[in-house]
Amino acid sequence: MLLAQSRFWLPPDISTHGSSVDQLINVTHWFMGVLFVGWGAFFVYCLVRFRARPGHAADPRPIPAKTSKYAEIGVAIFEAVLLIGFSMPAWAQVKYQFPAEDKALTVRMTAEQFAWNFHYSGADGVWGRTDPKLIDPGNPIGLDLADPHSADDVVTVNNLHIPVHQPIIVQLSSKDVIHSFWIPVLRVKQDVIPGMSIPVWFEARETGEYDISCAQLCGNNHYKMRGRVMIKPADEFAKWLESEKVSRPLQPADQEFEL
């Protein structure tokens, strides 16, 4: 579509479901455009033709405006189409038809002021025990390193690494306030609400690196709550997952220490 070319229109869509979102946005905007132009033309025409001038008097008789009635009915019908034809089915599909658990990669995300903490279960597919008591600077979600399941877990802050061409499910939860998990290029947006765990799903069609943004005002540094989604080929992702395992013993502090 013509609009899609402009860099000041929608960002690239690399998701499998996003086309339905874009389609609706584009169709709606064409509809709006037509409505506004047609309506505006009539408006301007009236302003010019019926401007006060010598020898011109107003005609108080109401015009039988059939056209306007038809126009209004037309608008109503088109809105109904947008609603029932596009929006409702797409919404049901995007938000509620989740991919099969075994096909998908599930990641846990815990938002806090002002960071996204991602937790991968690793090769064994089981998440290690987490306990806030264990939270320390190197361990943002308090992963229990004593738990055998933790050994192959991966924890990242703000960086969501995912394989391309595989459905991803992200379990969203928040430590403190309401955030909103938004990946524009994947057409994913979901409020993250404390006390609730809300899943979202998506599948990337292309590799690349893009922004994750917080769409809900969450405090002083809301604007700084920017993450990155890194979409890799499956094998690269596997490599990465292997290399990022939590079991990284520390060196003695002799060199590192400074007061």
Binding site: W9, A57, R61, V75, L82, S87, E112, A215
Partner: protein, 592 residues
């Protein structure tokens, strides 16, 4: 009917003859006209304050991290409750940006627009248009102003109290609002402002129902009165839930209850003390149950003003007056069942979302009807393009854009991308800024002669209109594209994001448009004040209008009408067929 008015139209004496003291007359007045003016002036001042906050924010948005010119250091002074800018550099701080943002929204909605359109125009014009000597409850009317003013002042004072002003947006979502500084004062001021609106709305409804002049049936009411009537009901029924919500949020902050606070929050690494397991979404439901009708509170009266001005300056009756009235009423009803379309991204189920996007689609129809009726009213008219008419006509396309851009936001699926982006900001500002505010300007130019007995200067009016019109679009049109590109709203520094870097240029343009808009208001301010002294003196009906307010002297005396008006015809009997004159006032008998 006031005895005083009968014998001394122009002497502002109380019915008992003796002139009231300065205080009774101008400060604690019970005269709807004085109160109306009080509301309007206070509202305009707050409008200016809210605009100033935004102009500072626009600097940060256009030039992130650059010291705010002139006042940069001032905003870090110790007498502020919390520093807005950095003391050394004078750079606007994120917390300062959030505080300004929250206060801009709150001030504009609750302390500027509503008091202007309802408190100001409503108070002054409604009793006149229905031929009443005053509002039904003059003392209540005064009380409502004296709840509004302290509320507004307290809200403004919060900048100087410990913790500074509220920082959680005008929506004050819990839990953020509950843990943020300054919110307590915000809530207390809101309770005052809400009380003021409640008292006002009761007064309006009773006045319109009980005090209409003889012969003024409901279907003969000017559309402006209808708009105020519906607005009255919206305020009456929508505000109490917010009051309840405010009380609960206060309890959460001060008494440690957890209405809106889930259990086990870890705030900045520390366990929070709320253990009741409350619901953050409860706040949003209560808030939007108010705040959506509130949108129509903002727009309906403006539509009313525009209808008056258009009817008057096309010199012909409004087209489809009745359908407009029914639409307004329907709008009022529907506005109570669309609120959750602000919450589509909270994880709403298919059924609920289906319901709310359907109701939202339905509510768009009456707006379309009103707008269409107003445009078709132009057909066959003899349009005078004076200052009020310029703003009134400009209102139509601006409101059209505002309404149309609401469409993709109302559809859940497209809302996935557009929710909480600059698209939303562009959308609702098109409705309230070039929309309602144009309506307000139209109203000021239109009724100024009625209030002061003098005209405002036409030339200055036109000089005011054109740049204002251009700047408004220069500000809000780019925002729609910033939103489509994918820029989150309430972003202190857009350049943090790739999308933001792409549209940073627009931010610069918008800011300059905003500052130019400020300059463009100077002719208006000059006009407003010099016309008080040197404006052309006029008789009661300078616009040759038909509605009742023009039957009263300008300015109307205490008690409004010299002789009790009686209504013989529909509100907009312009260019009656087969007659020499081009207008017949409502109170003129046929044979006249």
């Amino acid at each position: 009917m006031s005895a005083a008015a009968a014998h001394a139209p122009h002497d502002h004496a109380s019915p008992h003859g003796h002139a009231p003291s300065f205080w009774r007359h101008y400060v604690f007045s019970v005269d709807h006209k004085v109160i109306g003016v009080q509301y309007a002036i206070t509202g305009l001042i707050f409008l200016f304050v809210g605009f100033c906050l935004m102009m500072v924010m626009r600097w940060q948005l256009a030039y992130p991290g650059q010291p705010v010119p002139l006042i940069g250091k001032l905003l870090a002074s110790d007498w502020l409750g919390a520093a807005i800018t950095d003391k050394q550099t004078g750079v606007l701080l994120p917390e300062g940006y959030n505080a300004f943002g929250a206060m801009h929204g709150t001030i504009m909605v609750f302390m500027a627009i509503v008091p202007l359109v309802v408190g100001g125009f409503g108070n002054f014009v409604v009793p006149l248009q229905i031929g009443a000597p005053d509002m039904a409850f003059p003392r209540l009317n005064m009380l409502s102003y004296w709840c509004y003013l302290p509320g507004g002042l307290l809200m403004s004072a919060s900048f100087f109290l410990p913790g500074g002003a509220a920082q959680s947006g005008w929506t004050s979502y819990a839990p953020l609002a509950v843990i943020s500084p300054g919110q307590t004062v915000w809530l207390f001021s809101m309770v005052l402002l809400i009380t003021s609106s409640l008292l006002g709305s009761i007064n309006f409804i009773v006045t319109i129902v009980q005090l209409r002049a003889r012969g003024l049936t409901f279907m003969r009411l000017p559309f402006f009165v209808w708009a105020q009537f519906v607005t009255g009901f919206l305020l009456l029924l929508a505000f109490p839930p917010l009051e309840a919500a405010a009380v609960m949020q206060l309890m959460d902050r001060l008494a440690g209850t957890s209405f809106f606070m889930p259990e086990g929050l870890v705030i900045s690494g520390k366990l929070a003390e709320w253990t009741g397991g409350g619901s953050p979404l409860l706040w949003q439901h209560l808030f939007w149950f108010l705040a959506h009708p509130e949108v129509y509170v903002l727009i309906l009266p403006a539509m009313g003003i525009v209808a008056e001005v258009i009817a008057n300056n096309t010199r012909k009756p409004l087209w489809g007056y009745r359908s407009m009235v029914y639409s307004a009423i329907f709008l009022g009803f529907m506005s109570f069942v669309v609120w959750a379309h602000h919450m589509f991204m909270t994880g709403m189920g298919t059924k609920l979302s289906a319901f709310f996007q359907t109701t939202t689609m339905i509510i768009s129809i009456p707006s379309v009807i009103i707008l269409t009726a107003l445009v078709i009213s132009l057909w066959g008219g003899s349009i005078r393009f004076n200052a009020p008419m310029l703003f009134a006509t400009a209102f139509l396309p601006m409101f059209a854009i505002g309404g149309l851009t609401g469409l993709p936001l109302a559809l859940t699926t497209s809302d996935i991308h557009l929710h909480d982006t600059y698209y939303v900001i562009g959308h609702f500002h098109y409705v309230v800024a070039p929309g309602t505010i144009f309506g307000i300007f139209a109203g000021i130019y239109y009724w100024y002669p009625k209030v002061t007995g003098r005209m405002m200067n036409e030339t200055l009016g036109k000089i005011h209109f054109w740049p204002t019109f251009l700047c408004m679009n220069g500000i809000f049109l780019p925002m729609l594209f910033q939103g489509l590109v994918g820029l989150s709203r309430r972003t202190y520094d857009a350049t943090v994001y790739e999308a933001g870097q792409l549209v940073q240029g627009m931010h610069v343009g918008i800011s300059w448009a905003a500052w130019t808009l400020a300059v463009a208001q100077i002719p208006f301010i000059i006009n407003f004040f010099i016309s008080l002294r040197s404006g052309r003196k006029v008789a009661e009906n300078p616009w040759e209008a038909t509605t009742l307010e023009w039957a009263a002297p300008s300015p109307p005396p205490h008690g409004n009408f010299v002789t009790e008006p009686v209504v013989y015809r529909d509100p907009y009997d312009y260019s009656p067929p087969g007659r020499s004159i081009d207008f017949l006032p409502q109170n003129k008998p046929q044979e006249a």
